[in-house]
């Protein structure tokens, strides 16, 4: 022991010294440092917590932003699709309108064409009628001899007498002068008959007798500005009008 | 050869022989460190814990060498 340098007093001194050092270290190093470490750990934990909260908030904000963006995108795409749809339907409308217009125009054109055709047909018919009447007039003019002329006149007068032919209404046929046109010159008797029977109610004083072979047969009586057509030509004219 | 010279000779030889025991400690420290490094390589997360235990193991292994050294020192400097 002595050779190793171990002696009891020195050992005791060392132990006492160690206990003193322990007291000092425990009281003035470990205690304060431990407390400081605790505080620092808490501070750090607090900071971590804060940063975690901040990060969470940021994540939330990002999420919200993403949501808003997605919504905006969805809306935009909706608008685009709507616009497309509307454009399509508008196009369809326009097309339909154009088609309808075209159809109307076509119809109108068809109607016009129809009318034109009808008119042309009418014209044609008129022409045919005119030609036929002209032919008929010619035939009638050739076939009406004097005898027949007078027969016609007699028929006319007879009709007037028994009232079957109402040539003139009393009220209407009023005038100072009367003009009577015939195809052949009337006989005196006939002139008399005209004056007495036909023109009696009209009160016409001066009666002039005209001869116009163009009327073919019968009489055309003109009182004032009124005309009573009892001629063959007038009848043919009426026939022609009817044929059209 | 006088007695003093023989004593010195014996002390030197004895101290040298005493230190042979350090071989085991050296091998032991090598094995401990090898295992610890392998463990750290496999599991780097546990490096701190492994290091602590490694140092403990090294300390225990080294203690053997220290005993040898103490014996050698005693032979050299203490024993008359």
């Amino acid at each position: 022991m002595e050779a190793l340098g171990i002696n009891l007093p020195f050992l005791l001194v060392q132990i006492v010294n160690l206990l003193i050092v322990y007291t000092v270290v425990a009281k003035w190093i470990v205690g304060p440092v431990g407390k400081m470490l605790e505080t620092r750990r808490e501070t750090i934990a607090q900071g971590m917590e804060d940063s975690r909260v901040a990060a969470e908030a940021r994540a939330n904000a990002e999420e919200e932003a993403a949501k808003i963006k997605a919504e905006a995108q969805a809306e935009a795409s909706k608008i685009v699709s709507e616009a497309t749809e509307r454009a399509q339907s508008a196009g369809a409308d326009v097309k339909a309108a154009a088609e309808a217009e075209a159809a109307t125009a076509k119809e109108k054109a068809l109607a016009g064409i129809d009318a034109e055709r009808t008119q042309m047909l009418g014209d044609l018919r008129g022409q045919v009628a005119a030609l036929a009447i002209a032919g008929a007039q010619k035939l009638v003019g050739e076939s009406l001899d004097e005898k027949r002329q007078h027969a016609l006149l007699n028929d006319f007068f007879a009709g007037v007498k028994d009232g079957s032919v109402v040539v003139l209404d009393g009220a209407d046929l009023k005038g100072d002068s009367a003009e009577v046109t015939s195809a052949l010159p009337l006989t005196d008797a006939e002139q008399k008959t005209v004056k007495n029977d036909v023109l009696a109610k009209s009160g016409a004083e001066a009666v002039s007798f005209l001869v116009d072979p163009a009327i073919l047969g019968g009489l055309v009586i003109k009182v004032g500005d009124k005309v009573v057509d009892g001629s063959v030509a007038g009848k043919l004219e009426g026939l022609r009008q009817n044929m059209r | 050869m006088d007695v003093a010279a023989a004593t010195i000779l014996g002390k030197l030889i004895g101290a040298g022989l005493a230190m042979i025991g350090a071989i085991g400690a050296g091998a032991g420290i090598g094995i401990v460190t090898s295992g610890a490094v392998q463990a750290m390589g496999r599991n780097p997360d546990a490096a701190g814990n492994i290091q602590t235990n490694m140092i403990l193991g090294i300390a225990f292994a080294e203690a053997v060498a220290i005993y040898c050294l103490v014996v050698a020192l005693l032979i050299l400097f203490v024993i008359g």
């Binding site: 020195f10 060392q14 003035w28 | 403990l56 203690a63 005993y67 103490v70």
Partner: protein, 353 residues
């Protein structure tokens, strides 16, 4: 900032280079040709005076006692600065106390990982032992420690010279002088003689050694045994605190003594072995620290005497490392044993070196 830093580094580089060149100049034949001397190695702390301190028989003023006071001073200074730093209310300490705080934080994390809820009881011991041993170990690496001291005749084999007014031992093997003058030896010393200017020869005589004023207290078995005894005693104290009287069943295991005759007896024997192992822990602790540090000191002596320049720097670095490792290991083993003592027995199959 970086500029000044790099400037400092350049400066440090020049200092290192100058130190190497100075070493080459001093210790080789090119320059002064000083031969480095292997100092005399004493296992116990050397007495600086032959009269016991305070009249207590056996207690002398040894150089390790001065080393102990130095280590104490360092720890007290750390305590002062740390306490002042914490009192100033800052969250993080600066300078040396900041380094201490970082060390303590690492140690506390270690303790918490091992000891759990007993950290409050165990950690102060861990911190105390680590800080004290660390400062004791590193103090031994200061220049001048174990080299400046009293001349003591009758121990060594080197002659004494007075160089530039300073008496020193001198390796005279080349110019061995026959006659030796006995001189009064109590004078300041400088073995490596770094301030030596001239070569004037003084008186020479045989048989002198240097007793340094300062020697790291970890190289004294008293210190290491004191630490080991206190540590092991505190392990038992904490064990009792944690488990009450049930802690004793760890050593006197009578639980299965009657129920299982054979295994119960074996358990009892194992418990007694535990008791022995507690005692062996003291020896283990004490000799581990002492052996490492003493061997380190001797290593530095030998290396310094073999290759006087540049190479010892490497070993100083190694000793810096070893000093820290041993301090932490001592504290950590104490902590581990304490943590084991707090757990009820059955799972304490730790190796006991």
């Amino acid at each position: 900032m970086s500029e000044t830093k790099s400037k400092n580094r350049t400066w440090a580089r020049w200092v290192v280079l100058a130190a190497i060149l100075l070493g080459v100049f001093l210790f080789t034949g090119v320059g002064l040709g000083i031969k480095p001397i292997m100092p005399e190695v004493f296992l116990p702390g050397e007495r600086l005076s032959e009269t016991p301190l305070f009249g207590i028989p056996g207690l002398y003023l040894t150089n390790t006692l001065i080393g102990m006071l130095g280590a104490d001073l360092v720890v007290f200074a750390i305590a002062f600065f740390v306490y002042r730093g914490v009192k100033s209310g800052s969250v993080a300490l600066k300078g040396v106390s900041g380094a201490v705080e970082a060390l303590l934080e690492a140690l506390e994390n270690m303790t918490e990982g091992t000891a759990g809820k007993w950290t409050k009881d165990i950690f102060p011991w861990f911190a105390t032992i680590t800080l004290l041993v660390l400062s004791a170990n590193w103090l031994g690496l200061l220049p001048g420690v174990e080299t400046i001291g009293l001349l003591h005749e009758g121990h060594g084999e080197h002659s004494v010279r007075t160089v530039a007014g300073i008496q020193t031992i001198w390796d005279d093997s080349a110019e061995m002088a026959a006659d030796a003058h006995v001189e009064d030896t109590h004078a300041e010393e400088d073995t490596h003689g770094e301030e030596m200017a001239t070569d004037d020869h003084g008186e020479e005589h045989h048989g002198a050694a240097i007793i340094p004023f300062f020697r790291p207290v970890s190289t004294d078995l008293n210190f290491t045994f004191a630490l080991a005894i206190v540590a092991v005693v505190m392990v038992q104290v904490i064990g009792f605190k944690a488990l009450g009287w049930g802690y004793l069943t760890k050593f006197f295991n009578v639980k299965h003594f009657f129920s299982k005759p054979i295994f119960g007896f074996i358990d009892f024997g194992v418990g007694l072995l535990e008791l022995v192992s507690e005692l062996s822990k003291v020896l283990s602790f004490a000799f581990r620290l002492f052996g490492n540090l003493f061997a380190g000191a001797v290593l530095l002596f030998v290396m310094g005497s073999l290759v006087p320049f540049f190479v010892p720097a490497m070993f100083y670095m190694l000793e810096l490392f070893v000093g820290m490792i041993q301090a932490i290991v001592f504290g950590m083993l104490t902590m581990t044993f304490m943590a084991q003592a707090t757990q009820s027995h059955g799972d304490h199959d730790e190796a006991h070196a």
